[in-house]
Amino acid sequence: MSKKSRSKLWFLVHSWLALPIWFFVLIVCVTGTLAVVSQEIVWLANPDMRASKPSDEAPLLSYDQVIAAIKQAQPQTQVQSIIRPDESHFALEVGVTYPDGRPDTVYVNPYSGVIQGSAPTFNFQAFTRALHGWWLVPFTNGYSWGWYLVSFLGLPLLASLVTGLVVYKRFWKGFLRPTLRIRHGARIFWGDFHRLSGIWSIWFIAVISVTGTWFLIQALLGDNQISISSEPVIPVVARENVPLSVDGQAPPQLNLDRAIEIAQQRIPGLEASFISLPGNAYSHLEIGGRGWYPLMFQTATINPYNGDVAASRLLSDRTTLEFVTESMRPLHTGDFGGLWIKLIWFFFGLLLSMMVLSGLLIWTKRTALATANAFKRSQKPNRGARIAQALQPSVHRESSEGSL
């Protein structure tokens, strides 16, 4: 095959990768972009979620102080978990249950311990994630088919990146001489836009497509009961380690601040960003947070009666494979380094959505031209030849333009 026809073929492959499903790809990109900043959107819309400081030097409350404040405000409410979100402008998210059996998430001010309100009944964050992640198709047995539908897109996206770089000859020159011609008509503008944003998004498209493909692999592994986890199963607290009580009431449990101290002795540098209280008399207290590597959490599993560390899961406990695979999700969502990383992910998410759209616009403009040409030749006898001709000029034009 000649060099020219090979590049034509690459070009056709590139054009056809997203085209038949362009709208689906576009909406997945847009919902993913929204999901990146969904927490911030809720923060903007809902004042209850904000962590306003009562005064400049107000200290953060400890976890025990938070629990005590909730107990005082609502003595009957049971606390199950406390999450301290990464960014300090977010209130604590506390998982609670009310005496009527209703579970709830409440926003608690981290400085005053005031319960500022319940999470709205419509969970925007969860909704955007469900829409982006599995197209709202329910999980009944294993992964939902919506998950497969969306995560499969990682493959054409990766192929689009590779073929795009192949057909865009000497793309690295685009970095040195960025071209965005505004006054030469829409077709030229969208072409320039597609190429310019494409080369600056190489890293992002690579990250999103590789991590997206990982989600596909993850589902395939999960549905086939193949585990790559080196995490041991932690046995429950042994019967003899749960103290009996003479008065028939539950024995006292370790206070949370002491438990965090114990966890920090085991995991130096641990910032406890979530706590999950024991689920029953025989289960453990779990404390977790990020370490030096922001993409993963480290956890300590602690006996709530005597403070023994039953298990810990450190960065160093992960196998190399787990280091890679566990990094995939945060790399995809951009939720590992605070607001700025999220904004970068959001920006490039928008750019990627615009690339899907500009790719489509380029195609329709070209197809419109090619169709007009085809109609001019409509007297020709063989329709097959006509379509072949209709395709030709576009390919010629694009490959010559690609070398601009």
Partner: protein
Amino acid sequence: MNPSNTVSSPSRLSLFWHKWRFHLNVLLLLIPLGFMPKYLSEAALFRGDAGLGERDVGEVQVGPWSLRLAEFRNEAPRVQGPAGPMKHFNAALCQSCIGQVKATYLRIGKPRSLRAAGVIFFGSPYRMGALLPVPPKTQPDAELWITLEGWDGSMHQASIPLNQASPATVAWLKHQGAKP
């Protein structure tokens, strides 16, 4: 997409296809739209809008204590991975026994001892949940046994017919039994 395959005189259908082929995928949006009510009702179920679960079994007296039992979903057990069919029950302890009850267990058939009392409930005593394994060979007239363990070391048991706890499970078991 091989052009030579297209018919020589374009039919109305093929014209339609060529005109709209790139827009048909907009129909993929119907999938999430179609699943939206299901998504919202699931969210409501997990939020506890319908109480403990879709079907309230009622208050069960267990020795000096009692608990309210509910089927989380009013349906047959779901197969969840290699563990086989599981049935999700929720329960709430009576207000006065919360401080005294150490653990709550659920089992199909009478437990021989406290150590074999079945699956343990997790969560707040106001709303705790347990995933009960239901072997497909379970007799439809089996009994569901509830075991409560007290902080003072005492143990109390009660049973209700599986048919009362979950008619959907019994119907499923009967259907299973009909299979060769």
